[in-house]
Symmetry: C2
């Protein structure tokens, strides 16, 4: 009940419905919610069709799967996403789930309510809201920020990379980081991640590293996994998802890496293996991802699947380039969109995020996501998503060009 | 960390693996974990194949679905499962999810940690373990029962129906009931459910009613939904699942009913709508069930789907009859198996549940589920599941007949 008014996206939907009701002829183009628009790759469709047929056959039917996912998928993940980047993982360190939102939301359940969390500002609301719901925070202030949470501002001034908290901030137990970042599109170099890993090792803190957008990295120097940084396995949990990588927002499949070395500490200083805690949590409150979704996810790693998924990502990143270039040409301050599917733009004329949202909706019939919905440091920004259809992106950009 | 040693089913798996390693030629038949074995009904397979093809097509692709599920499924549920039994529900009272284990495990998150829960003994471990994990209980005693939980014994003496707690027990806020019962196979008449609904209304308590096995009811007098009882919408949440009804253990789809009338109360007595709390919880920590699973679930309600699913349930219930009859003929005390897919048998000669489990594994190579795994009142019982293949059930019964 401490939670602030409705989750960001439902509020956006409400305003769109309201505008649409008053303007039934308007063709609204959404660059708002980060939902994919390209159909699934053919290799994935074929694999899922086969899985469905299997489920209807006496010989191949499968009931409950292995609790943490099928080996065929876990092995493909380890080989393609990690071994290829010189990261060794044991199968027991990979937990298949039905979504990174669930995993990043549920992970806090295995930690005590007295732990202090740190988040960036702006931030993906799920990190904060799930901690509020668990009772780990105090009340919200007038900015919508909760007491007992450490907020780390990310603005153009620091290139959207949070500073390490100063000792004056006090105890920090759990740090949420997301790179490539939602919403700012910022990425972290190896040096930046090393700094955080060392900080976490010093403080006995745990990093919750959300890498849901790693597939959109184009710069070969940017790490895709936090485990590319030495020592990260001692302090970091990594979240991955097929939602954006392979268009699985409606299919539901993701995974979380919890290294066996990773330890948390009880209040009296006893070390506890986090892998076992998460394993027990998942065994008790989750019953596995759909076999069909897992079969589809495994196809992402086949030769055809990789090629086809890459083509789809290229479509989205071409959209990102179109958005970036037009907005830059129009004189806006624009960030992200190079290694991430999100463009983070400064609103013009000092408009608030919601005022600029309303302006774009009314004048261009284009929907963005108000930056202030991600936290007070997002005020004065708007997030545009590259996940729309290319023709829609082009039309949206033309309309924006004409509306100013 | 308060949780007792491993979750029941992993421990069973461990013993089976260990026995199998020493006896590689043994053909073990599992009547243990309640997992389905019949392939999906053809109507479901067809619907899911179409859904997969849709997801690969430009025109029919769908990303994130409506947060609480597709209307095509919600409408089918309301019409077939509720309107047909004279229960009205609004669409906003139905929450589609990926499993009843998740829902019955997650539901406690929306209630304060000071609430007192009551569970039957024996009980489906998820109800208890999720409350322990949330911090709502004290430590376990030597029987494995946690302080701050009210346990309601269910034994042959009370026909496996818990008594209403006496006033001496003190405050009760949340009552978990499961009918048809897992593990005992007991069912509750309308009179029994009315008694509980009235008790909850008196105490301002909430009933969490797990009806995952309602499809197995054969007696027309037994209610399938707690909402068949007057006043239940004021006090009860109901959980349903396609896992056993339609063989979805590997597909993942379920739903939960949270009536709008249902209120909880803050510590200072303010009424709060539970529907809104659950809606917010699901919006924040869950991202919807797979479109393919929902498409398959909707096919359960088509004319063909109903007929085909009924045939599959009949196969399982025929298994239940075979198990019941043979064990009764052998002189065992046997319960359940008439309106439920579980048979709850008394162990012979005062053997403990695990000793009888080991005995059956070693002498008959048949796996049951030790009753004590469900709580101390389950000690001296074994649960047998009717979800095996008919030939396996017959062979298992022959082996049991010869092993004594």
């Amino acid at each position: 009940m401490k939670l602030q008014a409705g989750y960001l996206f439902p509020e956006i939907s409400r305003r769109i419905r309201s505008f649409g009701a008053e303007n039934p002829d308007a063709k609204i183009i959404s660059l708002g919610i980060g939902d994919v628009t390209q159909p699934l790759a053919p290799a994935i469709v074929e694999a899922m069709k086969k899985a469905v047929v299997d489920m209807g056959s006496e010989a191949a039917f499968r009931g409950y799967g292995p609790e943490q996912g099928y080996d065929f998928l876990i092995n493909a993940i380890i080989e393609n996403d990690f071994n290829s980047r010189n990261i060794d993982l044991d199968r027991s360190e990979v937990f298949i789930s039905d979504g990174a939102k669930c995993d990043t939301g549920n992970i806090q359940e295995i930690f005590g309510l007295n732990n202090v969390i740190a988040v960036t500002d702006p931030v993906y609301p799920v990190y904060v809201d799930t901690n509020v719901m668990a009772g780990r925070t105090g009340q919200a202030n007038k900015n919508g920020q909760y007491s007992k949470i450490i907020y780390m501002p990310c603005t153009a001034e620091n290139n959207f990379i949070p500073e390490l908290p100063s000792p004056a901030v006090g105890r920090i137990d759990i740090i949420y980081l997301c790179f490539p970042n939602n919403p700012t599109g910022a990425v972290a170099t190896k040096e930046i991640l090393s700094r955080w890993v060392n900080f976490a090792r010093d403080k006995r803190a745990i990093i919750l590293f959300d890498a849901a957008y790693e597939a959109f990295i184009t710069d070969p120097k940017i790490p895709h996994s936090i485990y590319e940084v030495e020592g990260a396995k001692e302090v970091a949990i990594e979240f991955r998802s097929f939602s954006k990588t392979a268009g699985f927002t409606g299919i539901r499949c993701a995974f979380t890496i919890v290294p066996k070395q990773l330890q948390a500490y009880t209040e009296d200083g006893r070390a506890v293996k986090v892998n076992s805690l998460w394993h027990r949590r998942q065994c008790t409150k989750f019953n596995g991802a759909s076999y069909i979704s897992q079969a589809g996810a495994a196809a992402v790693y086949t030769t055809e699947g990789k090629k086809q998924c890459r083509q789809i990502i290229d479509i989205y990143m071409a959209n990102a380039a179109v958005i970036r270039e037009l907005l830059t040409r129009l004189g806006y301050d624009v960030y992200g969109g190079v290694n991430a599917p999100y463009i983070w733009m400064k609103t013009p004329d000092g408009l608030s995020s919601w005022d600029f949202f309303d302006h774009l909706l009314q004048k261009a019939n284009v929907v963005g996501t108000p930056g202030s919905g991600f936290g007070p440091s997002g005020e004065g920004y708007l997030r545009l998503s590259a996940f729309a259809k290319p023709d829609d992106v082009k039309e949206a950009m033309q309309r924006i060009a004409h509306s100013i």
